[in-house]
């Protein structure tokens, strides 16, 4: 009774399976459909024979015994076909993946066989070198001869080395084309011989863009140079104007008093010398010439320019210089550049006091630094003006100013490793503080060529 029930359940299961195999779309294209159907039919008959045997039909037992031989056989056949089905599907998937890779990889890839013939290549290869049929020799497939690449491939095929990579430049119609390529040997399992995997990347567009970028940078540099020269010319005009004012003032004095003639002439000569030095400085900036710097007493430099400046300022202004007596304040610098800075600051101070007044020049030593202070008691400056003070071409004097005077001051101070600061309040005057590193008197510092200018 139990056995009969078991066989009935088995028969039902097999019948369901047979129905599924014959009805389901999943099995219509299945390679193992026939062998599975045969196995299921065999099992169905076997179950049926066993059921009949339970009901006393002895001949059914003989049938079941004979059928039992076929069960392992059809199982094997079914497994073999099923395995092939899924291995084939797997192979098709791998093939599709490879084709997708070759169609979409951004690098030009090609496989070569042992004789240097193309086996397959990526879509990008076709875009770069044209669509070449499989079996074509590489040298016939390349529109541009790449002898180094061909040599590397031959060496890879002969086993001389396993991989190589290089960049080459080839001419095509008088136009350079740049390539980066790599070759790697591989064993072709289909042919059981060494082959070559080749990747080629054309760099021509990148190199052309780089060349254009460099050309643009050179053009920009030339443009910047022209702008610098323009700025320099404007600065020179500004400084020359300052020197001319000194000489103009001197001539006025000569007309007023013949007693001051010798002193005035000396001062005018000094102004001309300073103008000549400035001209040299301009030449240095334009052509790379240099002037010598040396140990410089800041107090003496101030005293030297005090006279010409007093003359330039006129009678309404009182220029007071305060320097340490008998105690030189020595820096490593260029007197003309310092005097240029002083001249600009003093004339600015004058402009800040249109009705005249007192201008103070003071030299001192503070915290191991030389300090040069220029103070006026004029209109002062707002914080907004102070923030833009050293910006080239910024001026509060309208058409009368160039906006370069304080830029010249800042440049001159920075050339001496110093820095400029300003304290000012509207209506309370302005103080410029020029700070320089002190020169150690024991230090035997050699005079060196120093480029003057921006």
């Amino acid at each position: 009774m139990i056995i009969g029930c078991l066989e009935v359940v088995g028969l039902i299961a097999v019948t369901v399976a047979l129905f599924v195999v014959f009805q389901s779309a999943s099995f219509r294209q299945h390679r193992a459909r026939i062998s599975l159907s045969a196995l299921l039919l065999l099992l169905a008959v076997d179950h049926l024979a066993n059921i009949l045997e339970q009901y006393g039909y002895a001949w059914a037992d003989s049938i079941a015994d004979h059928l039992s031989f076929g069960v392992p056989l059809f199982w094997g056949l079914f497994l073999l076909e099923t395995g092939r089905e899924y291995l084939s599907a797997r192979l098709s998937a791998s093939d599709a993946q490879l084709r997708f890779l070759l169609g979409n990889v951004p690098t030009s890839i090609a496989w070569l066989d042992g004789k240097g013939r193309l086996l397959a290549h990526s879509q990008t290869w076709s875009k770069l070198f044209g669509d070449v049929p499989a079996g074509t020799r590489l040298k016939n497939a390349l529109p541009v001869p790449l002898p180094q690449l061909e040599s590397a491939i031959e060496r890879c095929l002969t086993g001389e080395y396993r991989d190589a990579r290089e960049e080459t430049t080839e001419l095509e119609d008088e136009r350079s084309r740049y390539f980066r390529w790599a070759v790697q040997s591989w064993n072709d399992p289909d042919r059981d011989e060494p082959g070559v995997l080749l990747t080629v990347e054309e760099l021509t567009a990148e190199r052309d863009a780089e060349a254009r970028r460099l050309a643009d940078a050179a053009t920009l540099s030339r443009t910047q140079r022209v702008a610098d020269v323009g700025q320099l010319a404007a600065g020179a005009a500004h400084d020359f104007n300052n020197f001319l004012q000194i000489m103009q003032s001197g001539i006025s004095d000569l007309e007023v008093s013949r007693e001051l003639r010798d002193e005035t002439l000396t001062q005018m000569q000094a102004a001309l010398d300073a103008a000549a030095t400035m001209t040299r400085a301009m030449l240095q900036l334009g052509g790379g010439d240099a002037s010598v710097r040396g140990a410089l007493d800041l107090g003496a430099t101030v005293c030297e320019i005090h006279g010409p400046l007093s003359r330039a300022l006129g009678r309404r202004y009182q220029l007071v210089a305060s320097v340490p007596e008998g105690q030189p304040v020595t820096i490593w610098g260029n007197a003309t550049r310092i005097q240029q800075a002083l001249l600009n600051l003093t004339l600015n101070a004058r402009d800040a006091m249109p009705r005249g007044g007192r201008i103070e020049l003071a030299v001192s030593v503070e915290e191991d630094r030389a300090l040069l202070r220029v103070r006026d008691f004029g209109v002062g400056m707002t914080e907004t003006v102070q923030r833009q003070l050293f910006t080239p071409f910024f001026t509060t004097k309208g058409a009368l100013g160039t906006g370069l005077g304080l830029r010249v001051v800042k440049t001159a101070v920075e050339e001496h490793d110093g820095h400029v600061s300003v304290e000012s309040q509207p209506g309370a005057g302005t103080t410029f503080r020029l700070s320089f590193p002190l020169l150690d008197q024991n230090e035997n510092r050699p005079a060196r060529r120093h480029s003057v200018g921006a």
């Binding site: 078991l6 066989e7 088995g10 369901v16 999943s26 299921l40 395995g83 797997r90």
Partner: protein
């Protein structure tokens, strides 16, 4: 010499064992088949059924006879389950 075993049944058992051994040997390929565990169970049931058929003639006939038919029944159920699984779209 008379043996208690039926030659045909022993041959079927050896064939089943050979099939099971082959399946184990090629298991890396068989694993690519969806529901491969069901197929492995089906083969196992067949072998158990074949073994029970051989053994039932020597000891505990009733027990091994039930085991034999139960194994064949499970084998059929497992095959039906595999077919249903494949119909549901597992590949």
């Amino acid at each position: 010499m008379q043996t208690p075993f039926d030659e045909r049944e022993v041959t079927v058992l050896l064939s089943g064992l050979l099939l099971a051994a082959s399946m184990l040997y090629f298991r890396s390929d068989i694993k690519r088949v969806p529901g491969w565990r069901l197929l492995l169970a089906g083969i196992g049931c067949m072998v158990i059924g074949n073994a029970a058929t051989v053994i039932e003639h020597t000891v505990a006939y009733q027990l091994f006879n039930i085991i034999e038919h139960a194994s064949y029944m499970v084998q059929s159920v497992v095959l039906a389950a595999w077919a249903l699984r494949l119909r549901s779209g597992a590949r």
